[in-house]
């Protein structure tokens, strides 16, 4: 595992900020995942050593927390909110369009490794449903009618819409 020097530096600074080292596990896991794209077995062992716990204590976090992953996501990661307010505004349809256009199965990665499409639970943006995360950016009001255009503009400029594009997207990024 080769972590970037900036990542190593951030890890070094974050651990002593906590009264107990173990508290730094989640921040360190986030930093490693940002750097590597996922948490490998090797990474878990390394992190355990840095923080002074057994590897199992790292592994149990990776399996418990939905945002932590043991395999890489697509280069662009689409997360569509599935929960009630977004579903009432069409998020199941939105997710279907993403899957079709990007060739990724639900909760999986496209064959070329470019895209992953996942359902996530309520993103605290229910008043501007449906809510969609593209990597770490939140987009709001991504309605089924707007999704084709949205994909062209924010995800994959070359994806060719099947139908004529709907009105321009105003996904107020938050």
């Amino acid at each position: 595992m080769n972590l970037k020097p900036e990542t190593l530096k951030k890890i070094e600074t974050v651990i002593p900020r906590y009264p107990e080292r173990r508290s730094a596990l989640l921040p360190v896991l986030h930093l490693v995942q940002e750097d590597q794209g996922y948490i490998s077995k090797e990474a878990m062992e390394w992190i355990a050593e840095q923080v002074g716990v057994e590897p199992i204590h790292v592994y149990e976090l990776v399996t418990f927390y939905p945002m932590l992953r043991e395999t890489p996501a697509g280069k662009k990661q689409i997360r569509v909110c599935r929960t009630l307010s977004c579903a009432l505004a069409g998020s199941y349809k939105v997710c279907e369009i993403f899957q079709k256009r990007l060739g990724a199965p639900l909760n999986g990665v496209s064959d070329d490794g470019e895209y992953s499409v996942e359902f996530v639970e309520c993103l605290a943006s229910c008043g501007t449903a449906p809510a969609v995360l593209v990597d770490d950016k939140l987009y709001e009001n991504v309605t089924p009618e707007r999704t084709e255009n949205f994909i062209k503009e924010h995800v994959c400029p070359n994806a060719r819409p099947q139908q004529p594009a709907a009105e321009a997207v105003e996904g107020g990024e938050n």
Partner: protein, 449 residues
């Protein structure tokens, strides 16, 4: 006259030109209350908060002053303050506004609270998906530290307290305060059993810890600014201050709306502030306080007696938006997240959506919650897949009743109440799924599962 908002916490947030940086905050009078507070004794501040009668905005509505009163100072251990910024109760998006648009208001409220409880260190536990929120808060903390509003020797008072932003990683149960504490200790978010693990006694690192919601901590600033007794005049007795309601679902103008507790009714919120339903649609159901609160049927009448003995007879539109009224009508105001459903909604399908959430989020420690959530989810999925049985309504209901009251944390109730209330209030729809008499959904309605 049509009902209107009265903004206190959100006073400036949506004004053109109002920015989240410290310069803008100070220009609008920011950090003056902290300076004033640092000149008072911590116990005087705690008394002001008691007098203000502020109730927690995170879900349980517990009086903040009383909670602070439980801190075990005799132990001599360090005290910690944690801001619960996990905001994950479905339907809720008010803390996001407060953090993203006016982070220094939260920081000022937190530093006043930290001083009042004599915290040694404070944390903001923010949900992992709020990437930009964590950056905004970190930036705000840097700015505040540079100006001496947090960190060492705050405003020259001799009191020191630093603040850390800690990001979660996508688990709803981290919003439960003891689950949050476990998570902050670097463990799985397995809630702790109370007693004995009341955070104010055995919290973070087994030290006295106060966990308060973002909105609650913002209110602290205003209560200290105007004085507890003055604050208590806003709203109605026992339901003090303003509150921010998140409105979503089948509604013309979804959004966040702030007004004094009890100052507006459900009908005024839906029709005056939110512009009513979509054309041609009728109100069918309202979830008043996030998906964990019991659903209300728009056709029902709600009758009973208020605390003071006055009888009430309300339609759904008459219910005052405060803490107590939703208990009177058999639900709760929870996180003040109103989800509106019109007559295009299939209630079995809506419950199936909710059940998928709780089945995903149960931490798995207690059998009734772990197994019960899975079974409720299996039954509603099966019903939606066209395999409903005549006995399913009763089975769902009985599973839900076997969860509540038998678990370590309130996730048990949070998961059971939707099923219990959906079946109670819309029993015919659940039965119709089995008999094949269910009416078809209008084409405009999206699938929910």
């Amino acid at each position: 006259m049509a009902a209107q908002e009265t903004r206190m916490l959100l006073k400036y947030t949506d004004e053109p030109g109002y920015t989240p940086d410290i310069g803008c905050y100070i220009k609008h009078g920011g950090y003056e209350t902290l300076k004033k507070a640092l000149k008072l004794k911590p116990e005087e501040l705690r008394q002001e908060i008691k007098d203000s009668e502020i109730r927690g905005r995170g879900g349980a509505g517990f009086p903040t002053g009383v909670k602070w009163g439980f801190i075990d100072y005799k132990s001599g251990k360090p005290v910690y303050l944690i801001c619960n910024a996990d905001e994950s109760e479905p339907g809720t998006f008010k803390d996001r506004q407060l953090m993203y648009k006016d982070p220094h208001q939260l920081l000022e409220g937190m530093m006043i609270s930290a001083y009042a409880i004599q915290a040694k260190l404070s944390f903001i536990y923010i949900r992992g998906e709020m990437f930009r929120g964590a950056k905004i808060l970190e930036q705000a903390i840097e700015e505040a530290r540079a100006k001496g509003f947090l960190g060492d020797n705050i405003c020259g008072s001799g009191y020191s307290c630093d603040m850390l932003v800690h990001r979660g990683a996508g688990a709803y149960i981290c919003g439960e305060e003891t689950g949050l504490i476990e998570s902050l200790e670097g463990k799985r978010a397995y809630p702790r059993i109370k007693p004995p693990y009341f955070p104010a006694v055995f919290g973070l690192y087994q030290c006295p810890t106060i966990v308060n919601n973002v909105e609650t901590l913002c209110h602290v600033k205003h209560a200290i600014d105007m004085g507890g007794k003055e604050f208590a005049k806003i709203g109605t007795p026992g339901n003090t201050g303003t509150r921010i309601w998140s409105v979503s679902g089948h509604i013309q103008k979804p959004g966040y709306y702030e007004f004094p507790c009890g100052g507006i009714t459900m009908g005024e919120l839906i029709y005056d502030l939110c512009g009513g339903l979509y054309p041609g649609r009728k109100l069918k159901a309202v979830i008043p306080g996030g998906t964990s609160s019991k659903v209300l049927n728009a056709e029902d009448r709600y009758t009973g007696k208020l605390k003071d003995g006055t009888p009430f007879d309300w339609s759904i539109n008459d219910i005052p938006l405060d803490f107590d009224s939703f208990v009177h009508v058999g639900s709760m105001s929870g996180s003040a997240a109103v989800i509106v459903m019109d007559d295009s909604t299939d209630m079995v399908e809506a419950l199936a959506n909710i059940n998928a959430f709780y089945a995903h989020e149960s931490c798995g420690q207690c059998t009734p919650c772990r197994e019960g959530c899975l079974w409720m989810n299996k039954i509603t999925s099966r019903m939606m897949a066209g395999n409903a049985k005549e006995t399913d309504a009763d089975l769902l209901h009985s599973v839900s009743l076997q969860i509540s009251g038998r678990t370590i944390c309130a996730h048990g109730e949070a998961a059971a109440w939707p099923t219990e209330s959906f079946v109670d209030k819309f029993r015919d729809e659940f039965l119709a799924k089995a008999s094949g008499n269910a009416s078809a959904k209008p084409e405009s309605a999206y699938r929910l599962i």
